[in-house]
């Protein structure tokens, strides 16, 4: 539970030198902020500009002069946006569910219980993390093909359904629960499952938020693997749909393209902003290490 910030006294002093340093700091921060969210704001602004408005060049303004949702209407008319969104959400729900349930169970057994095979399991996790996805995707594709799962959601979901890193995160989280808490529950006669649900799960809330956000983002963002597995357009996720949109003739109007990509970014931003407090807390408490 380390506190990330240092004492504020250091910079918020009274002397003019400190004030000047503070102003410089804010100036630098604002400059970097412009770089990090500038492209996103430009994207939003462009998507809201009407047909008559310039996007580039000298006469282009940063804010739309005549905001309209025409580009959004075009995107939904010309491309099955709603279908892509639905498909992306299905992938995210499948992934988040399996990434929450199974790593939690496995992490508990790894950290709290002694059993035959525990050490072997731990090393299997470590070894599996040595292989970057791109270096094993040829084999993964062949395996999915042999299972008859090409061009299906399950085929996209299965290889990444349980990430070793999430098992390790949950293992570290449960290991940090003091023994005394569990002993008290044992004396009360609570069975193993009850202790797991009543004591361990609530203690892991911070890490679970990190796992949920990370796996949601990963599933929403994923491109290469669904691109390999999915063939028919009815199954396309938003990322695939966007790439397709950019290759189509509609991409001649950047407003439409920007509207499409705003749609891809907004849900995930909303999720993140809603959970960010817990997220940064979870990260600070060591879920990331």
């Amino acid at each position: 539970m380390s506190i990330v910030e240092r004492s504020p006294r250091r910079t918020v002093g009274r002397s003019p030198r400190r004030t000047r340093a503070l102003i410089v700091r804010y100036a630098i921060l604002t400059g970097i902020l412009a770089i990090s969210i500038g492209p996103l704001l430009w994207q939003l602004s462009s998507s809201l500009k009407g047909q008559g408005e310039a996007l580039f060049g000298t006469e282009a303004t940063f804010l739309p002069q005549d905001p309209s949702f025409a580009a959004y209407a075009t995107v939904f008319e010309q491309v099955p946006m709603a279908l892509y969104i639905r498909n992306s959400l299905i992938m995210c729900l499948l992934t988040v569910a399996s990434q929450v349930v199974f790593p939690t169970l496995a992490g508990y057994m790894l950290s709290r219980r002694q059993w035959r095979g525990r050490t072997v399991f731990y090393w299997l996790l470590i070894v599996s993390m040595m292989f970057p996805f791109e270096s094993i995707m040829v084999s993964l594709y062949m395996q999915i093909r042999d299972l008859g799962l090409v061009n299906s959601f399950v085929g996209v979901w299965l290889p990444g359904a349980i990430a070793a890193v999430n098992v390790l995160i949950m293992r570290a989280t449960f290991a940090a629960v003091p023994d005394e808490v569990e002993e008290a529950a044992m004396l009360d006669g609570a069975g193993e499952w009850r202790r797991f649900v009543r004591i361990y799960l609530p203690a892991a809330r911070g890490s679970l938020v990190v796992v949920v956000i990370n796996s949601f983002i990963a599933a929403w963002d994923d491109f290469l693997w669904p691109f390999i597995v999915l063939r028919s357009e009815e199954l396309y996720t938003l990322s695939l749909g966007l790439a397709r949109l950019s290759a189509s003739s509609l991409s001649f109007d950047p407003r439409v393209l920007m509207a499409g990509s705003v749609i891809a970014i907004v849900p995930i931003m909303v999720l993140f902003i809603a959970l960010q407090k817990h997220f940064f807390k979870g990260v600070e408490s060591g879920a990331i290490k």
Partner: protein, 325 residues
Amino acid sequence: MTTRITSRRAAVRAASPPARRRSRGGATSGAALYRQWWTPLLWTAPAIAVIVGFGIFPFVNTVVLSFTDARPLGGGGSWVGWENYARLLTDSAFWLATRNSIFYAVVAVPLLVVLPLVLAQLVVTRIPGIGFFRTGFYAPVVASMVAVALVWQSLLSERGPVNSALQQFGLISSPIPFLSDTTLLLLSAIALTVWKGLGWYMIFYLAALANVPKELYEAAELDGAGPVRQFLHITVPGVRLTMLLIAIMSGIGSLRVFTEIYVLGGATGGLGGQARTLPFYIRDTALDPIAGNAGYGAAVSVALFLLTVGLAVLSHRLGSEKEEP
């Protein structure tokens, strides 16, 4: 003798019943609790199955495939010995992709090791509004890669805002071909990777900076050291291990790049596939339904894996060498 042991045991039991109970309930000897030995296996079976089936087996299988002529749609699969590896040596497209991937890592890693640290140092102190800045810096991490790559594609296009601004200020006379020149395309993709990765690695540094004793900064300030000297002499040594970790992570990340090139350079990966990275090349050679050769693609995959290991070892060497003086 038997009696003595029994009595000693009894004595131990009598002397410390709570200690005994603790060891039964604690993490060390929980196995005794299970009437059914298979309970732990039941809880962990799904994780073990996926980790082994889709994490470890595929690597072994990739190595095996690399000695065959397997086809992505089935068929083939007979043993060809070292043929695929012999073909690698003379395949100029493979070497080009390897060069591109290495170039990517060489440029991106230093930027991703240094810039997020500067960023973390700037937001570590809790001044008013800092939460807003932290969230803003993290926003690109959350945004989808395909979506932001499309934005960058528009920004960097011939008529895009970057070129038109540069022309407006008279810095250039004709637009810079960010997306059609191979080297510039790679550099643009690297810029995108770095831009999107800054916030992610910043988080690691924030956690590391919390462990740098703040007395060091106070002492340095009393000695009259400015922010730059404090950064170089206190912050950098204080987070060296994290820097090493990030060098390895971002290096592996650079070797995995596909989407940036795919979107910025068009589906071909630059003009004539000149800007393709190794994952891009693997996809093109192995998984094309008609002309694909999974066996050869597997050989390229093994090369990618070895390159990844080499990069991690190299980073580790460089990281621990610095520790000597």
